[in-house]
């Protein structure tokens, strides 16, 4: 079995090469270690980044682990990318996202009926911004498309997974 130092290095590597969150299960299978060892390794790795005051930190998003940048350096990233990276979402867009998040996979007619109005324009925008994605077709007449939120959605809103959000009953 690999020693903990090596495990930490490998986790660091994988999180570096993969652009989106890497699930715990994938890492555990890859390294052939148990949950406990993994938790210990990831905790230590995160602490190391913190202690050396790195501009990067490791966080759990969309049910997986990934590198993110600290807020205090955001102006440099914006300056480098030469654009405003904040997506501007209308109240309507947020509403539709909320519905897809809690009821997805869901079809457009179902979203329309919850909102009491047409949502096709909003859905198109959300697809373009890649905050939602297609999830096949519903097996009902007309076979309408189903929508669900994307990994980018979780990244953008900084949501770990659905348990990170209030439950329907709590709202």
């Amino acid at each position: 079995m690999l020693d903990i130092e090596k495990i930490k290095k490998i986790i660091e590597l994988i999180l570096f090469v993969n652009g989106k969150p890497v699930s715990e299960r994938k890492l555990i299978e890859l390294l052939e270690i148990d949950n406990e060892t993994f938790n210990k390794a990831i905790d230590e790795l995160r602490k190391e980044y913190e202690e050396r005051n790195s501009p990067l930190f490791i966080e759990k998003i969309a049910g997986g682990w990934q590198f993110s940048t600290k807020k205090e350096y955001s102006e440099w990233i914006k300056k480098f990318l030469k654009k405003e990276l904040t997506l501007h979402l209308s109240p309507q867009a947020l509403e539709v996202l909320a519905i897809i998040l809690y009821r997805g996979p869901i079809t457009r007619p179902e979203i329309d009926s919850i909102r009491g109005m047409d949502s096709s324009g909003v859905i198109r925008t959300l697809l373009e911004k890649k905050l939602i994605k297609l999830a096949g077709r519903k097996k009902v007449p007309g076979r309408p498309l189903l929508y669900r939120v994307s990994d980018k959605f979780y990244q953008y809103f900084g949501i770990e997974d659905t348990s990170d959000l209030p439950s329907w009953e709590e709202i």
Binding site: G19, P91, E95
Partner: protein, 231 residues
């Protein structure tokens, strides 16, 4: 006047407006005074109209729904009609309560974005993300081909020098797909009508034989051909 306009612009739909009217006067969402709310609602639409604001049909639809419930409750012709009114009122209340919850979630999401402003994560995966493909129905396929034929170059005196048979086209598709994992329809299509038609028929035959499967990334997108079960 200005104040009023600002308020109007933030309503994302008829339910949003109703919710505002209910909360403004602290009315009970579990037992909405229908006559009162119908009056307020219509008054609001009238003001929007006066200000030449475009009122989308969904707002009008809600107005007619409110009036229908109101008339059934206040002037029922039969007991049955009154019951119907009660039921419709209940349904509207349920819809409003559900909608209110989604609005709260939307606010929570907005808060999350604010908290996270300035944090960036890796965006472009080095390893390409699996594209989400949707299986194409015959109807979608026909739509795409209809579009292609419309755009095809029509030569008035089209002389078909080389005849392509459906069998040959099927061979071509199968060969291509054996070579690469994934084939886009536009890659194998020439711009003549005859070729488009032959390709369409060849594809239909191959789908029937389960040698290929057709997918789309989005509605009206390019058709993506993958190997089928019998390939």
């Amino acid at each position: 006047m200005n104040q009023f306009k600002v308020e109007i612009e933030i309503f994302s739909g008829p339910l949003d407006l109703l919710l505002y009217l209910i909360e403004r006067k602290n009315l009970d969402i579990y037992d909405i005074p229908i006559a009162k709310i119908t009056g307020d609602y219509i008054e609001y639409l009238e003001k929007m109209n006066e200000m030449n604001l475009e009122i989308s049909s969904s707002f009008i639809l809600m107005a007619s729904r409110l009036i229908r419930i109101k008339s059934k409750l206040l002037l029922p012709r039969t007991e049955e009609e009154r019951m119907e009114g009660e039921l419709e009122k209940k349904r509207l209340e349920e819809e409003l309560i559900e909608y209110k919850k989604f609005k709260k979630i939307a606010e929570e999401l907005k808060k999350r974005v604010k908290e996270r402003e300035g944090v960036f994560s890796r965006q472009t995966p080095i390893i390409p993300e699996d594209e989400m493909l949707v299986e194409v129905s015959l109807f979608d396929l026909a739509l795409v081909f209809k579009e292609l034929i419309k755009r095809a170059k029509v030569e008035k005196s089209e002389i078909i020098s080389e005849e392509i048979t459906i069998e040959e086209k099927m061979e071509t598709i199968l060969n291509e797909i054996a070579r690469k994992e994934k084939l886009k329809l536009t890659e194998i299509l020439k711009q003549t009508i005859i070729d488009i038609i032959v390709t369409f028929l060849a594809l239909l035959e191959l789908i029937r034989m389960k040698k290929v499967k057709c997918f789309q990334e989005k509605n009206f997108g390019d058709i993506i051909i993958l190997r089928g079960e019998n390939a």
